[in-house]
Symmetry: C2
Subunit: 486 residues, 2 copies
């Protein structure tokens, strides 16, 4: 348990107000209410304050001031994260990045952009579209989430299959270390020199420092896009079709499966896409690239789906139809979310060959716990998203949701899978990390964290579970004390 | 300067012989001679001993024994590295990985292989070819170099343009830490959980521990390959053609330029490929993928080369012709190497737009220092390889080679480039790292290294330059003392 102060020391408040200006230092209850959690709503906690800096120097000043007063700090983007990474546990101060939101440079010749962390993901693609370029990582929240948050969580999206996750698109970073020093990692040509710390910082969930500038790779907008929708009687056959496509050597931009339970929810909602309600699953396949290369790939998809007995397969004839195909996928969270006050979007990855068996197991777990669960998933990546809708005000249901979640993760890791594909560990899965790593395997991670943040002031209580190395090597460290979650 | 013992302590020798057996513990002068350097031959240094372990447990035993006696250890693959990363500086023991050379598992369904570090790069592709798979990173030394060495140096090759370097193909690692603990990093599904330490270890040049097992991604062998050779009057036009191809959105598997000086050397050697000796440069472009998609890409290449005034452009009609096209590229080092006893293969990266100006500058530097220099380069990546042939027995010539090398790196970094693209920092470029990083930017790297190897026993004197953090945080640490190179 932390011994940190329950309130913001008055002297620190004065210093912080001096750094960002009183208007950008939120401390009143009414102002803080909106910052009690991010997309993981299970255990809200109010921050001591919310700071809205506008420059790297202000971020560094906040970090130095907080450290001097032994107050922890947590970086936050748009708060769309689903694992609690931006939650102010341990009586922390939030550093909110919405005001550091400029695109500093676009270099079309070298296909890169330098942006501040508060730039909204989709806005970057919009800003460079006229140059024929786009920013590839496309989390479902891309209309709201920020590049800084994407860097923290190493976000992916439906097009991860072809384009990879955020880490594949970050060339360089500027960051403020937990001691207030500002450093630059990586370089514009994307060759790692010395230790590749860019890779270690992407996905570190804000625990190694506060990223204040991101140099990202831009990709050429593909000249052609083809979207197909295949309807299957059962989800196992759809998974097998995905396996056939992968083995063919064709790499679609996306391969997404929506299961029967999700179809039912979507078709009963405003997202209805005209899908047959008796279908076992639909498979959405998107291909992109030079138009001349696409017809042969369409044939591969069609053959693979037909070989697995798909009931029907359609190819989008225009953008409107393409959007309709995607509606079931993109509306899944919304449709499920309307069925109950709360929605738990799970995230786990299994080797693709295990997808069919795991889906059956996940549904069995939910049924046994009497929960409403449906699956949409990045089938090409083996990345599952079981969604559970529930009411957290019902303690019994909440307890069943938590037990089911643990069983799902145990089932996935038992077949060689991992506990998160793109949502991060955060507070949500910190205590499940032993499903993937032994104490020995975690040791290098504790060493890295202690090397950057020996005093445990930078986003404490996230990513890895206990005090261990940090506390052992520095008696002042207590940021890593367990924060009760369940 | 190190205070380490000049000879192997007798008790340590007994222990090491007990671990690997006397036959696999080389200590006689005649046996050690072959291990005085790797591909960087400038400053040979004899190791105290060479150990040839055959299991992870033996590696861990060696590491623990060396550490107990404060003797440094250096991992070594095939010794083909070009930056001295496998050189036993600081009176070290070499841990040679040729006996840990098994392919432990091939999982075709999930497209991965688990290998020991001593597996030869090209042998892995041979082993999985019947499954329609290959291992993509293809350093020029791939017939000899090992996967473990590739991991240490984050090796690339001509096909880096499309496939990336080693780091893009490593999913998981087993490694022995400098304190003798064995840990596993990463996982088989390739999703980073917690801190991405796989990325930080790939390219760390054996300074964070000894890698004992590598889980690599395998790629499907492309169904079609097309190789083209374009002849230009001058190298600037060839560089511009590369820029046109990149801007078109086509991603060739490789785009390599061979300059006039290299053509002259190659055509005067056994590697003669029938290239016109008055050509300014040849550009080799390789495309791969589904055969149906290739003709339109061939048109893009042809149009780009013709728009930049290429003298002629050919498309390989068969494998024999394809090999002829590649001969000038692959024979470049050999042809240059025959002109003098020593060859210095440089390695630097510049943003592609600066390639033409940098090439002129590199040639001017060599001419001014009266050196024989020629350029072959991964033009698509902006990765230069200026090759200087010389005789190191001539102290004046050696001194001019070193001065020219420094000037080349300064010229590249002045336009935003970096000091190595694929050969690593090693001892060769350790003292040039300040051309890329400030003291502040190096600080996180010192912290990482100190966290893994506080006593400085693991491949000391490589990658980063001075004592700094390690020595400051641990008075026993002296492995990072400067080892004189120039």
């Amino acid at each position: 348990m932390s011994a940190r102060s329950e309130a913001l020391p008055a002297e620190l408040l004065r210093t912080l107000r001096g750094i960002v200006g009183p208007a950008h230092c939120l401390v009143r209850e009414g102002e803080l209410f909106a910052y009690e959690c991010d997309g993981l709503t299970l255990e809200p906690q109010r921050p001591l304050a919310v700071l809205l800096p506008s420059t790297t120097e202000e971020v560094a000043g906040i970090v130095r001031a907080c450290r001097a007063h032994d107050v922890a700090f947590v970086p936050r983007g748009a708060g769309t994260g689903l694992s609690g990474g931006a939650q102010a546990v341990d009586r922390s101060v939030l550093i909110e990045c919405s005001r550091v939101d400029r695109v500093l440079e676009v270099d079309a010749g070298n296909r890169l952009a330098v942006v501040q962390p508060g730039v909204v993901n989709a806005d970057l693609s919009t800003a460079v579209a006229s140059l024929g370029l786009f920013y590839a990582p496309d989390p479902s929240s891309q209309q709201a989430c920020t590049i800084g948050g994407n860097v923290a969580e190493n976000s992916g999206g439906p097009h991860t299959l072809k384009y990879g996750t955020t880490t594949n698109h970050v060339l360089a970073l500027e960051m403020v270390l937990p001691d207030g020093e500002t450093v630059r990692l990586g370089n514009r040509v994307g060759e790692s020199i010395g230790y590749d710390l860019v890779g270690a910082v992407v996905g570190s969930e804000g625990t190694l420092g506060i990223v204040t500038e991101v140099t990202v790779r831009l990709s050429p907008i593909p000249a052609g896009v083809e979207t197909m929708l295949a309807i299957f009687d059962d989800v196992v056959a759809a998974c097998r079709a995905v396996g056939r496509v992968i083995r063919s050597g064709v790499v679609p931009a996306a391969m997404e499966i929506v299961d029967r339970r999700t179809i039912e929810a979507v078709e009963a909602s405003v997202y209805a896409a005209g899908l047959p309600k008796d279908a076992g699953a639909v498979l959405i396949v998107e291909l992109d690239g030079a138009p001349v290369g696409l017809p042969s790939q369409i044939d591969v998809i069609r053959t693979a789906c037909e070989a697995e007995g798909c009931r029907a397969i359609e190819r989008a004839r225009d953008e409107a139809e393409r959007k309709r195909f995607w509606r079931a996928r993109k509306g899944a969270f919304g449709a499920m979310g309307r069925l109950a006050p709360d929605l738990y979007v799970h995230d786990a990855v299994v080797p693709r060959v295990h997808l069919p068996a795991i889906l059956e197991r996940v549904c069995e777990i939910a049924d046994r716990h009497r929960l409403k669960l449906a699956n949409v998933f990045h089938a090409g990546d083996g990345n599952l998203h079981p969604n559970i809708c529930f009411d957290k005000r019902d303690p019994d249901e909440l307890s069943r949701v938590m037990r089911a979640g643990r069983e799902i993760l145990e089932a996935c890791t038992a077949v060689g899978g991992v506990i998160t594909g793109e949502h991060g560990v955060g507070v949500e899965k910190r205590d499940f990390i032993h499903l993937v790593f032994s104490d020995e395997d975690l040791e290098p991670m504790f060493r890295l964290r202690a090397a950057f943040d020996p005093e445990g002031v930078c986003n404490p209580g996230k990513l890895i579970p206990t005090t261990r190395s940090c506390a052992e090597s520095n008696p002042k460290a207590r940021g890593y004390d367990a924060v009760p979650f369940e």
